[in-house]
């Protein structure tokens, strides 16, 4: 005699890349309810969709708080997010309910470090300005000092938060002739040796760096870290890059610093909010490059993230070890 297996129900908040969806469907472990759109699931639909779910696969645009967890009910045993950041998850509430969490560290490190370097170079060498001049007829002929930028050769680079991504960025910048690689954080990291990284207080990093790269997680400690005091300490020829989370930066203070010439230029892949409204003052500045959060946006990486997210979810449903579990 066969006892029917209780059907495990999963809610997926977005149309994720095929590689991930196929894994869920082929595993035949759960029924998948999918918000089949490229756009985020509206809040009301999310609250409805999670009712009775055993598993929830979400993106960083979905705020998973007590309201969502209550709407889901006691079945919910795993949340799998297709991101390495988890500031959109109410960790305390999730821990309280003994729900396991999967996320996607490591697999997106290369793509994100690559984009961070791309943004740093585009900002330091004034690529968007150059392209604007070309399109608008501002390009007349080769001129010795036109569109000159700041080179990495002989420079000091400061990385705030030498984690996986910070270290990967440092590795990629080194062969450009960087003279000194500084980093700050809660404690020194042994892996910094690989890039001859020097652990320094934040203030020293700010005073001495030609390029400041913010690569830390968003936490109560780092919220609003990059403020007026921060920018005041930086060199007037310095370039500021943030690809971590928008809330680490006080945007009004950044605008002031850029317009008053306190720093030379800034490049941001993350803002508050996202998207940044098109009339936001930062978007009008020639020396500010804003990208729409594309750090991990390569075909191969997004496909791998989708597979990992699916595998984390499946492992959580069947009570097995996850490929990448977030320690709560």
């Amino acid at each position: 005699m066969h006892f029917a297996q209780p059907v495990l129900r999963v809610f997926v908040t977005r149309r994720i890349p095929q590689e991930g969806l196929e894994l869920l469907q082929r595993a035949a472990v759960c029924t998948v309810s999918l918000w089949d759109s490229d756009e985020p699931v509206p809040r009301a639909e999310l609250l409805k969709g999670v009712e009775g779910a055993h598993g929830l696969l979400c993106l960083l645009s979905d705020r998973i708080d007590a309201e969502v967890l209550d709407a889901a009910g006691p079945n919910l045993k795993v949340i799998s997010t297709m991101s390495v950041g988890f500031d959109h998850l109410a960790i305390d509430e999730i821990k309280k309910r003994s729900i396991r969490v999967g996320y996607t560290p490591d697999v997106l490190t290369d793509a994100t470090a690559e984009l961070t370097v791309a943004l740093l170079l585009a900002t330091a060498r004034r690529l968007p300005e150059g392209i604007q001049e070309v399109k608008s007829g501002g390009w007349s002929s080769w001129k010795p000092l036109w569109l000159c930028g700041y080179g990495l050769s002989g420079s000091t680079v400061g990385v705030i938060g030498l984690g996986r991504i910070g270290l990967a960025v440092a590795r990629r910048l080194k062969p450009f002739g960087v003279k000194r690689l500084l980093y700050s954080g809660r404690q020194p990291k042994p892996q910094a040796q690989e890039v001859d990284g020097e652990y320094v207080p934040l203030d020293s990093l700010l005073c001495e760096s030609d390029f400041v790269v913010v690569s830390c997680a968003l936490s109560p400690e780092t919220q609003g870290l990059c403020d007026k005091a921060f920018f005041t300490k930086m060199k007037t020829t310095a370039v500021f890059i943030n690809t971590s989370r928008g809330a680490v930066v006080n945007q009004e203070d950044l605008y002031e610093a850029l317009t008053a010439g306190q720093i030379a230029a800034a490049g941001l892949d993350v803002t508050t909010p996202e998207p940044l409204p098109t009339d936001h003052p930062l978007l009008a500045l020639k020396n500010c490059v804003v990208l729409p959060h594309i750090g991990s946006a390569t075909y191969s990486t997004r496909g791998i993230m989708a597979k990992l997210t699916a595998n984390n979810l499946l492992a959580g449903l069947t009570g097995e070890a996850m490929p990448s579990e977030l320690k709560l």
Binding site: L121, R126, K143, C148, G149, G151
Partner: protein
């Protein structure tokens, strides 16, 4: 250039190029001429200068604007600026490569014009360097510097083509020598780093593009004349290659109504590869020192072998 009591120099004191007629007038009777790449130094200019002219110093590493045959005939020495600009040019080449492969210009445009919604899984996805094959067309100082900088991006393989193998340079970056056809077939990223010569004129044409992968990225920071721009337009607009980044074009400036500007997957910069403050100052100093050495009949820091 101070401290030379007998040196009289005249400066075209403008950011803009000297008009041809002015150039022909001003060079009359000169012993030395310091120029940039916008001046075509041919028989007409050399004749206008007359027999005093013994040194020509260009503030560039490229010398396709100089009539070498005419200069050699007249026994005029030539100074140029290799090496001091290698870092800046390699850096800009990679900036351009990444801006193209990761679609930065499309992205900044979307951010400014309201195309940016919330985070989406496949929006603005690009092609990664990790696990790729990078091909270099013309392996010189700049080609090697580019490869050195790309290595930590986890490039799987470097390949190159040139008139002949360059074993010493290739060893530094562990690059394999291949034919031009193989370079086209295997490269995920193809960077053109050769000099412009009669042999390389228009060499990047439909023959090359048709053999490339439809996911490949083509980058040119050498000279515009190496690329057949009509063929490039065809290749980009029909999806034969995924994207192209150019820092050099024909002509310069490229007219704003040129078809290449209509393509989202073509990034065009106004020849700024060596445009960093420190580099332009170093080039300027070197060009001056080359000129002074030539006037004194001494060895130049960087003399072009004619």
């Amino acid at each position: 250039m101070s401290g030379w009591s007998q040196l009289q120099f005249e400066l075209w004191d403008s950011d803009d190029p000297i008009p041809r007629q002015e150039l022909l007038k001003k060079v009359k009777g000169c012993d030395g001429l310091l120029c940039v790449l916008t001046e075509k130094i041919d028989a007409e200019v050399l004749n206008a200068a007359g027999p005093n002219l013994k040194v020509l110093s260009t503030m560039s590493v490229g010398f396709d604007h100089l009539s070498l045959g005419e200069l050699k005939k007249r026994g005029i020495r030539v100074g140029y600026t290799p090496e001091v600009l290698t870092d800046a040019v390699a850096e800009l080449t990679i900036a351009l490569l990444l801006a193209t492969s990761r679609r930065l210009i499309e992205a900044t445009h979307e951010a400014k014009t309201g195309g940016w919604g919330t985070w989406r899984t496949l929006w603005l996805c690009g092609y990664e360097l990790a696990d790729s094959t990078v091909g270099i067309f013309g392996l010189g100082r700049i080609g090697v510097a580019i490869a050195e900088r790309l290595k930590p991006f986890k490039v799987k393989k470097f390949i190159y083509t040139d008139v002949a193998p360059r074993p010493e340079l290739a060893a530094a970056i562990q690059a394999e020598y291949v034919s031009m056809d193989e370079l086209a077939r295997q490269s995920d990223f193809l960077a053109v780093c050769c000099a412009l010569t009669p042999e390389t004129q228009g060499i990047c044409n439909k023959n090359l593009f048709s053999k490339m992968k439809n996911t490949s990225i083509f980058i040119n920071t050498s000279r515009g004349g190496v690329v057949n721009q009509e063929d490039l337009y065809e290749a980009l607009s029909t999806g034969q290659i995924a994207g192209a980044g150019l820092d050099v074009t024909v002509p310069e400036p490229l007219p704003t109504n040129h078809p290449l500007f209509t393509l989202k997957n073509c990034v065009i910069l106004p020849h700024i590869a060596s445009a960093s403050y420190t580099t332009r100052n170093a080039m300027s100093a070197l060009a001056a020192n080359n000129l002074l050495a030539g006037l004194r009949g001494e060895p130049m820091p960087k003399e072009l072998q004619l």
